[in-house]
Amino acid sequence: MLNYIIRRILYAIPILIGVNLVTFMLFFVVNTPDDMARMQLGTKHVTDEAIFKWKQARGYDKPLIYHDDAPGFQKFTDTIFFEKSLAMFAFDFGRADDGRDIALEIQSRMWPSLAIALPVFLLGLLAYITFALLMTFFRATYIDFWGVVLCIALMSVSSLFYIIGGQFLISKLWHWVPISGYTNSIDAWRFLLLPILVGVVSSAGANSRWYRTIFLEEMSREYVRTARAKGLPERIVLFRHVLKNAMIPILTGAVVVIPLLFLGGLITESFFGIPGLGSYTIDAIQSQDFAVVRAMVFLGSLLYIIGLLLTDLSYTLVDPRVRLE
C-alpha cells in the first residue's frame, strides 16, 4: 500500500504543474500584468511609470513563459510562470497584491471555513443517510412517496433561496440567531447555527435521493433475501447489512470532499459574513489578484488529489476484498 501511496503522490506533481499552467494561461489570457497594475493602482492619476514600478516590485515585469533574451536555461526560469509557480510546491504562496502574506491568510481563514463545512458535512451525512434509510425502510408506502416528493421539491430550489429564506425567517422574523457575522471566540456557535442548518437543508434533497437509490439497489441483492429468510428484523437487515454494503458508493462521494472542506463555500461565506477561504477566493477573483487565485487553485487541486487518494484508501477499510497495489 505504501508503494501505491508514493506512486499516487508522484503522479500528483505533473498534475499540479499542469493545473498551474492552465490557471496561468487562463488568467493571463484575459489579464495582462498592466491590467493588474491598473486594477491595484486605481483609476486616478495612473501613469505608465507607476504601472512599471508596480510590476517591477512584484516581478510582473518579466516575460510570461519564455524569456528570449536570457541565456541558457534562464530562458525558462527567468519568467513570471517559473518564479511564481515553483515556490508554491514548497507552500510558499508569496504575497497578495495588497502586500499581505497569503499563507498566513490561508491559515487564519481555513478555520472559519471548516467551522461551517465540517458540521454541514457530518450532520448532513447523518441526516441524509437516516432519511434515505427511512424512505428505503418504508419503500413503496406513502412515506416513501412523500419523502421522494420532498426531496425533489428541495432539489428544485436554488441554494441562494435557502440562504435568503433562512435569513429572512430565522433571523429577521423570528430573531433566533444573528443574520450574519463571525467571531473567533466560543461565541461563534451563534453565527454558525443558521449557515449549518441552511447548508444541511439545501443539499438534503439531492443527497437523500442518491443514498435512497444506493440502498434500494442493495436491497435487491441476494444477501438481503438470505438475511430476511433467516428471519432477521428489517431494521437489522437495513442497518447491519445494507448500510455496510452500501458504504463504497457512499464513501466515493463523501471522502473525496473531506479535504475540500477547508476551502469553504463561496456563496454561503459571503452571505453569512464568514471570513473563510471561499470569500477570500471570490475577493481575489474580483480584484484580479493573481497571486491569491493561483494559490487557491493550487490548494484546491492538491486537496482534491488528496481526497481521491483518501477515497481509495477508505475502500480498503470498508471492503476487505479491495487491495491497493
Binding site: 507607476a50 435569513q167 444573528p178 463571525y182 452571505f271
Partner: protein
C-alpha cells in the same frame, strides 16, 4: 412573543408550556424537575439579557460604540498609498493632515486641523525674488505651515524606549518576534510630540521606490525636486538591496524645508492654488520616522504587521483591531485633545439640531466597530434590527425605505418613520457622463466641415437622451441632470436660468425644459443625417456604445439607451467588454461613445474642467481626458483659470469655458448623483458629504436608546418552535406506528409459519 430579559424564568416556562409535551411539563412542575429544567433553559439562554440575534458580544451592551459596515476590504491604510473612499474612511480618522474642511459650512471651507492657521503662500520668480500676491508670472510658490504644539501621537511600541533612552523595539531579532502576532502583543508603548519633521518625512515618502504613491506623478510635476528625489532613492535602493530601512532623513529634498520644530515650507513649481486642497488629504499627513523604522524590521511583514495595516497617527481614533476579512475597530486615541465641535454652521443647522454640541470637546464616540458585510441583504436587515446605526439604500430596498410625499419631497416610509429612522440627502461632488471620442470620424470629425457636422450630431444626441427620465427610472430619482461637468456646491455651478445648458434646455415656467425631439432631428439633419440616414452613403446612421460588461439587471438600462437614440432614428449598437479591454479601448482611442464618471478630489472647478483640458488627452498623453477633447480656446481659458484664486473674474472665465463646452458637447453631461442615507434616531450630528472624510469625531450616539430599541425590535418569536416540533411529531408518529405494525405482522407471519 417573550421579553426574556425582563421576565422570571417560571413565567417564561409557563408561556412556553403551550408548545411543550405533557411529560416535559410534568417534570417542570415538580420541584426538582423545575430546578433542573430551569437550569437548562437558563444555560441555553445565557446572555439573553440581550436579544438572541444580537451579533455583538453582550459585554458591549450599553457602551458608547458606533456600529458600521464595510463591504470591500481596504487595500492600503498607509496614507501615502490609500486613495479609495473605503480606505480614506479609516485613514482620515487616524491621520491628521494640516488642514481639514469645516464640518458644517457650505460651500466647503478649508480650516486648520493641526496647523495654527491656513498656510501663508509667497510667490517668487525664477531668480527667487519675491513677487506680489496677484503676480501672474510665478516661478515658485512657497507654502509655509505652522503646526500647533503639544499634539501627540497615539500610544505605539515604535516610540517605546528603555531607561537609557534607546528604542525598545527598533532592533528586534527573529526570536524576539516569535511571540508577536499582532501589534498589541508588544508590551510597552509610548508617544511623542508631533513635529514639522514628520510632515516632511511623509512628503518624501511620496517618492519612496517601494510605496507607489498614486499621486507621485502629479506631485512630481509640482513639488520642487520630487522627481529627482525619487531617482536618488531608487538608485540607493538598487545599490543597497539588503537595506531593509530606507532612512529618508538622510536624503534631503530640495522642495521642502524645516523652519523650526513646528514650522515647515513646501516649494511648488509655478502657481498651483489647488495645492492647498491636497493639504487636507491624508497624503500630506505626518508619519513619524520611528514608525517607519519600526515596521521595516524583517520578520514583521511576514506576520502582516506593516505600516500599511497598522497606522500610527495623531487623530481622534486609532486602529486597535485590523482584520479586514471580518472586523476593524477604531478606538479613541487617549492622547487626542484640543479640538472642539464647531460653533458655527449654516442657518439650517440650528433647525436640524447640528449645533447642539457647539464647543464640546471631540470626539464623542469611544469606539467604532466596522464589520465586514459583503452582501446588501444581511446589511440592510441588520440595520432594520438596529445592529447597524446607518445604512445606504440599495435599489432593491428603495421602495421599502423611501417615498415621495404629497409636497413632492422625498421622505422615509411610514414603517421607517415609526422606527425613528431619518433620511439625509446630499448631492455628491461627482458626475456620471457619456463621452464622445473626439478622435472618431463620425462623432468627432477630422476636417473643419466634419467637425461642424459632428458637433451638431452630438448636440442632437444631447437633446434626445433624456437624463431626467434616466434618473427617475434607474436611480430612483437620486440625481440631478447635469448642465455642465461642474456639480452643485462647486465654484462655477449656477442655479436657475443662468446655469442651464441652452443647447439642450430652454427656460420654461421657472425651470429648465428639455428641447423637443423636433429640434434634435433638425440638428441631426443639419449634421448630414436627415431622419437618421447618412446623406453621403444613403445608409442608416449606426453608432457604437462601449460599455463594461453588465449584469443581466443592466439590460434595461442599455435597452433604454438604445430607445433614446432611436427617438432620432439613430441605431445604437452596444459593445460590451470587460473592464480591462474597455480601458484599453479608451487609452487607444478605439471607443466611439462611452460612459464614465468622476468623483472630485477637492471642491474646485479645476478638478472637473481638467477632464476636458487638451493636454490631459488619454490618447498620446495618457491623461484623464477620456473624450480626447482639445479646444484651443478652452485650453487657454483653463490655463488662466487654473492659476487664479476664487473670485468674480475667475467665475467669469469659468462661465466662458462652460459656454464653449455646452456648444461643443463633447459629453452628454449626464447627471450628478444624490447620496441617500438612513440614520437611526440615536445617531446624531450627521451632516453628510463626500469631501471631508474625518467626520466620525463629530458624530454622537445615544447608546441607551439604541439598547432599548434593539431589545424592543428583536424579541425572539418562539411559536415556530412549537410548529416545528408538532410537524416532526406528525411526520414521525405515523412512521413509528407503521413500523410497529409491520414488525408485528412479520412476527405473526413467522409464528403462524
Amino acid at each position: 412573543m417573550l421579553a426574556l430579559s425582563t421576565r422570571p424564568i417560571s413565567q417564561v416556562i409557563k408561556r412556553m408550556s403551550s408548545f411543550i409535551p405533557a411529560g416535559i411539563i410534568a417534570s417542570l412542575h415538580s420541584a426538582h424537575g423545575l430546578r433542573y429544567w430551569g437550569c437548562c433553559v437558563f444555560l441555553l439562554l445565557a446572555g439573553c439579557a440581550e436579544p438572541w440575534n444580537n451579533p455583538y458580544p453582550a459585554a458591549q451592551s450599553g457602551e458608547n460604540i458606533l456600529y458600521n459596515a464595510f463591504a470591500e476590504r481596504p487595500k492600503h491604510l498607509d496614507p501615502v498609498q490609500s486613495y479609495s473612499t473605503n480606505e480614506i474612511l479609516f485613514t482620515a480618522q487616524i491621520y491628521q493632515p494640516p488642514l481639514q474642511y469645516h464640518y458644517l459650512k457650505r460651500p466647503f471651507e478649508l480650516i486648520p486641523q493641526t496647523a495654527t492657521t491656513l498656510p501663508t503662500v509667497r510667490y517668487y520668480d525664477a531668480n527667487d525674488v519675491a513677487l506680489p500676491a496677484d503676480a501672474e508670472e510665478v516661478a515658485f510658490s512657497v507654502y509655509e505651515i505652522h503646526i500647533k504644539p503639544e499634539i501627540h501621537y497615539q500610544p505605539h511600541p515604535a516610540f517605546a524606549r528603555d531607561v537609557l533612552g534607546d528604542f525598545l523595539y527598533h532592533t528586534q531579532t527573529a526570536s524576539d518576534l516569535k511571540q508577536i502576532q499582532k501589534i498589541a502583543d508588544f508590551e510597552h508603548d509610548d508617544t511623542r510630540e508631533l513635529l514639522a519633521d514628520d510632515y516632511l518625512y511623509q512628503i518624501k515618502r511620496l517618492a519612496h521606490p517601494k510605496l507607489h504613491s498614486p499621486i507621485f506623478g502629479l506631485m512630481a510635476d509640482y513639488i520642487v525636486g520630487l522627481r529627482e528625489y525619487a531617482e536618488t532613492l531608487s538608485k540607493h535602493a538598487t545599490a543597497n538591496p539588503d537595506d531593509v530601512y530606507l532612512d529618508l532623513r538622510q536624503f534631503p529634498l530640495s522642495g521642502v524645508e524645516k523652519v523650526d520644530d513646528h514650522t515647515y515650507r513646501i516649494r511648488i513649481k509655478g502657481k498651483y492654488p489647488q495645492f492647498i486642497y491636497w493639504l487636507a488629504m491624508p497624503f500630506f499627513a505626518p508619519i513619524p520616522w520611528e514608525a517607519d523604522r519600526f515596521f521595516s524590521q524583517p520578520g514583521l511583514a511576514d506576520k502582516n504587521i506593516t505600516l500599511d495595516w497598522y497606522p500610527v497617527g495623531t487623530g481622534p481614533y486609532m486602529l486597535t483591531e485590523n482584520d479586514p476579512n471580518s472586523v476593524m475597530v477604531l478606538e479613541r486615541n487617549p492622547n487626542f485633545q484640543g479640538e472642539h465641535y464647531p460653533a458655527e454652521g449654516m442657518p439650517e443647522d440650528v433647525e436640524n439640531n447640528l449645533l447642539q454640541d457647539a464647543d464640546q470637546p471631540l470626539p464623542f464616540i469611544d469606539k467604532i466597530i466596522f464589520s465586514r458585510e459583503k452582501e446588501s441583504i444581511p446589511r440592510w436587515n441588520k440595520f432594520l434590527q438596529g445592529y447597524y446605526d446607518a445604512s445606504g439604500i440599495g435599489s432593491d430596498s428603495f421602495d421599502q425605505a423611501v417615498q415621495i410625499s404629497g409636497q413632492g419631497e422625498t421622505v422615509v416610509t411610514e414603517g421607517m418613520g415609526e422606527q425613528g429612522i431619518r433620511l439625509e440627502t446630499a448631492v455628491a461632488p461627482s458626475t456620471y457622463y457619456m463621452g464622445f471620442n473626439m478622435l472618431d470620424t463620425v462623432v468627432g470629425g477630422r476636417t473643419t466641415q466634419e467637425k461642424q457636422a459632428a458637433r451638431k450630431l452630438r448636440q442632437a444626441i444631447s437633446i434626445a437622451v433624456d437624463y431626467e427620465e434616466f434618473i427617475s427610472i434607474f436611480a430612483n430619482g437620486r440625481g440631478l441632470a447635469a448642465q455642465s461637468p461642474i456639480p452643485p456646491g462647486i465654484e462655477g455651478y449656477r442655479d436657475g436660468k443662468a446655469g442651464i445648458n441652452s443647447i439642450v434646455y430652454e427656460w420654461h415656467n421657472g425651470g429648465p425644459r428639455r428641447r423637443s425631439i423636433k429640434v434634435a432631428k433638425r440638428l441631426l439633419a443639419e449634421a448630414g443625417y436627415p431622419d437618421g440616414i447618412d446623406k453621403k452613403s444613403g445608409k442608416p446612421l449606426v453608432l457604437y456604445f462601449d460599455v463594461t460588461t453588465r449584469s443581466a439587471d443592466d439590460k434595461a438600462i442599455l435597452d433604454w439607451m438604445r430607445k433614446q437614440f432611436r427617438k432620432i432614428n439613430i441605431h445604437l449598437v452596444v459593445r460590451s467588454t470587460d473592464y480591462n479591454r474597455f480601458q484599453d479601448k479608451i487609452r487607444s482611442g478605439n471607443a466611439q461613445i462611452f460612459e464614465w464618471g468622476w468623483n472630485a478630489d477637492y471642491p474646485d472647478p479645476e478638478n472637473f474642467l481638467f477632464l476636458l483640458y487638451g493636454p490631459q488627452r488619454k490618447v498620446g498623453n495618457n491623461g484623464e481626458n477620456a473624450a480626447n477633447y482639445d479646444n484651443a480656446e478652452f485650453n487657454r481659458l483653463f490655463e488662466r483659470m487654473n492659476n487664479m484664486e476664487s473670485g468674480p473674474q475667475r467665475a467669469q472665465i469659468i462661465d466662458q469655458m462652460l459656454a464653449i463646452l455646452r456648444e461643443d458637447a463633447p459629453w452628454l453631461w449626464g447627471y450628478h448623483p444624490k447620496d441617500y442615507a438612513l440614520y437611526h434616531a440615536w445617531y446624531q450630528n450627521v451632516k453628510p458629504n463626500r469631501l471631508s472624510n474625518n467626520n466620525m469625531k463629530y458624530w454622537r450616539i445615544d447608546h441607551n436608546l439604541r439598547a432599548q430599541k434593539q431589545r424592543e425590535w428583536n424579541e425572539p418569536v418562539l411559536w415556530p418552535l412549537g410548529i416545528v416540533f408538532f410537524l416532526l411529531m406528525g411526520g414521525l408518529l405515523p412512521a413509528w406506528l407503521a413500523y410497529r405494525r409491520r414488525e408485528q405482522g412479520r412476527s405473526l407471519t413467522t409464528q403462524s409459519s
